[in-house]
């Protein structure tokens, strides 16, 4: 029957996106710290203004333990032995002799008294709290102060009924918590038992899940699901309450993308659709307060949105005064990257790539106009709409659907969840744009290292891989890398990541298939699927193990083929049987799909097993030996276009190793 610990760190508003990770770190470290006291994490919650963790069942103190201190060897001179005893505050007869691999040594077994829980916590908590790795911290109250995400304003820390005595920057831990800024008391005393209830009385809903549910429950029908926005709102409020506002219908003439972006990214509003799925002249804002009885908050939000939409309308109208086609030259004064020139230069390179890779008229036109929206007021104001605005304007200016949708989709896929461009022209443009960026940056040494990737080259490369794997284009990685070796490797790394993490293929299967050729991603996927299917059959893994053995034998013999198998040199029926089985399978495999080929290959297992059981490859007669090596070589080579089977790690072995 232990005691409970409650820690609440009261902080000025923490940026919402940092809260879950910060809380997780605090909770993990606290659990590690208290591990010697037993106990379990019973609560780990946060709002913008507090991180709270509760543990239950902590023991009063750590267990006493013994620590063995090693001293001089048995044969050391008496002064040394006495010195050792004195250093440990005991007499020589209290020492023990302990036998070790190196001989017999004097040792002293020190009894270490377990620390009281409260002392252990008081000593460790300041460092533990300040050790939370926030993405960007501030120093306060000045030089010699501490770094944290924002100033800490109170610390509540109770072990049972006692306050754990510690302080950070002069803020002493105590029994007080704080309420909602407008609706609650600024400070009030709590106990571990009434903590959450007291917070609720003071308009703080402690649990993220409850705040989230409170928002979701109040969302009207037709609200567009938006998990990321919901998460933001959950962690930007202590007492969230959604309200619905309206705007004038005539704003619906503006492109839906613009309206949604203004609402979503600039105002953190949910947008709403009507029964037919069209955008409605409504929005949902989430307040950090309990209610809006006089409609003041709704009125205020409507007013702000109106001003934003008016701006957007103004930008739209101004932008239409100069067509995209007339803006190409203006790209000369928009820098892409200091060493890589302007967006005009980039446009010219991308057009060239699209032409080289067989782009049609629409793809070429899209490439020419792709970046012109960077000179438009709408994109200057809403940078996240680059590409999309270009696509919308292209359509409005009569560029044709193919061109417009290619421009619209040029930055796709923007994330792992995002789809790739819808059309072949869009895919080609997106690919050419990304490849140009990658080649350019690699060319001037801007290669991502560790967490540093300012030009988002990993994301660009990931997009390239996805478009190749999932799109309609017939382009090879080698072609894209354009002879830049590091870029080729970089793309293959991204392909590995994509195939394992995103598509879920086993790592060794991916390695095996890529080792047999990585440039044609569509083909890689075909081979990979075949390997995955055959992997599950009983003969495959043992056969893969035999391939590994073959590879080792051939490597050791430094044998690289060249000859043909001479049946006359066979000495053992097992060699003859394997050769016959192989020829039969090889005959079936030619022209067959990867799946069939591998299924046929798997049938070789009994013959291969028998061969290794009966036949010694290293025969004394060099001709016999060479013949056997040739047999193995032919066998291995026949299937090497599909995968390098020696890379397959048998499942049994895997479990064994771990």
């Amino acid at each position: 029957m232990g005691r409970d610990l409650l820690l609440e760190i009261g902080v000025e508003e923490i940026p919402d996106w940092m809260i879950p990770d910060g809380l997780q770190h605090l909770t993990t470290k606290l659990a590690e710290l208290t591990a010697p006291l037993g106990g379990e994490v019973a609560l780990s919650e946060a709002t913008p203004r507090r991180l709270a963790v509760k543990l239950t069942g902590l023991k009063e103190r750590e267990e006493d333990r013994e620590e063995v201190v090693s001293g001089p060897p048995k044969q050391a001179n008496p002064q040394a032995i006495e010195g050792f005893a004195r250093k440990n505050g005991v007499s020589v007869d209290q020492l023990q002799l302990t036998e070790t691999a190196k001989g017999v040594y004097y040792t002293f077994v020190r009894k270490v008294e377990g620390k009281a829980a409260i002392d252990l916590l008081a000593a460790a908590l300041p460092g533990l709290i300040l050790g939370i790795p926030w993405p960007k911290t501030m120093l306060w109250p000045g030089k010699g102060g501490v770094r944290f995400i924002r100033p800490i304003r109170w610390i509540l820390c109770l072990l049972g009924e006692k306050v754990v005595p510690f302080a950070i920057n002069g803020i002493e831990a105590g029994t007080m918590s704080g309420g909602h800024r407008q609706l609650g008391a600024s400070r009030f005393a709590v106990t571990i038992e009434n903590y959450e209830e007291k917070l609720r009385e003071n308009f703080v809903i402690l649990r993220g899940a409850e705040r989230r549910a409170r928002i979701e429950a109040a969302l009207p029908a037709g609200v567009k699901k938006d998990a990321a926005l919901l998460e933001t709102l959950t962690y930007i409020t202590e007492y969230p309450t959604p309200i619905t506002g309206e705007f004038a219908e005539d704003y619906l003439n503006l492109p839906e993308e613009v309206l949604v972006t203004v609402m979503r990214f600039h105002q953190k509003y949910f947008s709403v659709t009507d029964a037919s799925g069209k955008l409605a002249a409504k929005f949902v804002a989430v307040m950090n307060t309990a209610a809006d009885p006089e409609g003041l908050v709704r009125h205020g939000n409507e007013r702000v949105l109106r001003a934003r939409f008016n701006d957007a309308r103004f930008f739209y109208n101004v932008d239409q005064q100069k067509k995209l086609a007339e803006r190409v030259e203006d790209l000369k004064s928009v820098t892409f990257q200091a060493q890589l020139g302007s967006y005009l230069a980039k446009t010219e390179r991308v057009v060239e790539l699209v032409r080289d890779w067989g782009g049609d008229e629409a793809a070429l036109r899209a490439a020419e106009l792709a970046k012109t929206d960077l000179t438009c007021e709408m994109v200057k104001e809403f940078t996240e709409l680059q590409g999309i605005v270009g696509g919308l304007y292209a359509r409005a200016q009569g560029e044709g659907e193919e061109v417009a949708s290619a421009i619209y989709d040029q930055y796709k896929p923007a994330s792992m969840e995002d789809s790739i461009p819808r059309t072949a022209a869009g895919q080609l443009l997106s690919l050419a744009d990304k490849v140009d960026t990658l080649r350019g940056c690699f060319g001037i040494g801007l290669i991502p290292t560790g967490s540093k990737d300012p030009f988002a080259l990993r994301r660009a490369a990931q997009g390239v891989i996805r478009i190749l794997a999932e799109g309609e284009l017939d382009l090879k990685l080698d072609t894209l890398a354009g002879g830049v070796e590091k870029l080729g490797d970089f793309l293959i790394e991204r392909a590995k990541y994509y195939l394992t993490e995103i598509r879920g293929y086993a790592f060794d299967e991916v390695m095996a298939v890529l080792a047999a050729g990585a440039s044609d991603l569509k083909d890689v996927l075909g081979r990979l699927e075949a390997v995955k299917v055959v992997r599950a059959t009983e003969n495959f893994e043992p056969l893969a193990a035999s391939f590994k053995r073959m590879k080792n034998i051939l490597d050791q013999a430094q044998f690289s083929g060249g000859g043909t198998v001479q049946e006359s040199l066979f000495e053992d029926p097992a060699e003859r049987a394997l050769w016959a089985a192989f020829q039969e399978v090889a005959g079936r495999v030619r022209g067959a799909g990867y799946g069939e080929a591998l299924a046929a290959m798997a049938t070789l297992r009994p013959a291969v097993d028998l061969f290794f059981e009966k036949v010694l490859v290293n025969a004394r007669d060099p001709a016999v030996r060479a013949n056997r090596l040739t047999l193995l070589f032919s066998l291995k080579t026949e299937f090497s276009g599909i995968a390098e089977f020696s890379e397959i790690v048998p499942k049994t072995q895997e479990t064994h190793a771990s």
Partner: protein, 298 residues
């Protein structure tokens, strides 16, 4: 009626009651209240300071010929510097909103992450934009560095956008409709200025003259910085503050050139770097003059 000037009086009164010195605007053109010496230089060093002032902020590129209801070439900021930051700084700030008649229990207030950085001043801080019913009304920053110098005491800088705030209080769609006094609207006081300065800034400012002025002020500033650095004695009476004015002149000329479209994107970084070099230089000699241990050596 909570007029524009009444709102300003109340805010000044509120901060005066909390120990702030109330000063008049600095009389050199600035792009933001932060650039005034009362902020830029005062935040340096170990002395406590509390000041509040209204500062007209000129941003030539934001001008809209008086035609956009929310964008102005010159808007007014109330700038509050609390050094060091009091523990209840946010409560004090919220109290100032109540002082101008906002009943916080009836409104929605959120503090959204917004860190501030000024490349031209070599300054940055951590903070929020304060949202009132979905509208940004205040920029709240804990300064961390100024002129490339780490701060001894971290001050809170509270910057209110006065026109916006007043438009909210008076529920006006356009800043030009704000009642400055019961008889006079904001537009009657300022519209001509917005129109004429937009014409000048966007169309008529003579680019070669602006560049010439920029170079003259830059040269004068650098000359003074170099002179200070070469001094062996007499630093105490050196005119560092006039040197800083030269930085402000350069910064404003840069903004004008930018609005005039005279600075290409490629050049931009370079010109910003030139202004920053001056700002950092002045911050350095200011810290040396005010807080260096040179006196002991002399």
């Amino acid at each position: 009626m909570n007029t524009y000037q009444e709102m300003i009086f109340r805010l000044k009164q509120y901060w005066a009651e909390r120990g702030c010195i109330i000063t008049e605007p600095y009389d050199v053109e600035v792009g933001a209240g932060t650039m005034c010496p009362e902020t830029f230089l005062r935040v340096l060093g170990p002395e406590q300071y509390r000041v509040a002032y209204v500062q007209p902020s000129r941003r030539p590129a934001d001008g809209r010929y008086g035609e956009n209801p929310n964008r102005l070439y010159k808007h007014s900021q109330l700038q509050v510097i609390l050094k060091p930051t009091p523990e209840d700084v946010i409560e004090q700030y919220l109290g100032s909103l109540e002082a101008i008649g906002i009943d916080l229990t009836k409104h929605d207030i959120k503090f959204e992450e917004d860190n501030w950085e000024s490349p031209t001043l070599g300054a940055w801080g951590i903070g929020w934009q304060v949202m009132l019913d979905g509208m940004e009304i205040t920029q709240f920053t804990y300064f961390q560095q100024c002129g490339g110098v780490d701060l001894d005491l971290v001050p809170a800088e509270i910057t209110y956008g006065l026109e916006r705030l007043c438009a909210f209080l008076q529920d006006r769609e356009s800043v030009y409709e704000i009642q400055w006094t019961p008889e006079f609207a904001y537009g009657q006081v300022r519209l001509k200025e917005e129109q004429q300065f937009s014409v000048y800034n966007f169309e008529m400012a003579e680019v070669t003259t602006l560049w010439k002025l920029f170079e003259l002020h830059e040269g004068e500033c650098q000359r003074l910085i170099d002179l200070y650095r070469s001094l062996e004695t007499g630093q105490e009476r050196f005119p560092v503050l006039p040197t800083y004015d030269q930085v402000l002149k350069c910064s404003n000329l840069f903004n004008l050139l930018d609005a005039r479209g005279a600075i290409s994107v490629t050049e931009r970084v370079g010109v910003i770097g030139r202004v920053r070099k001056l700002a950092v230089g002045v911050a350095g000699i200011w810290v040396d003059q005010q807080y260096g241990n040179r006196k002991a050596a002399a």
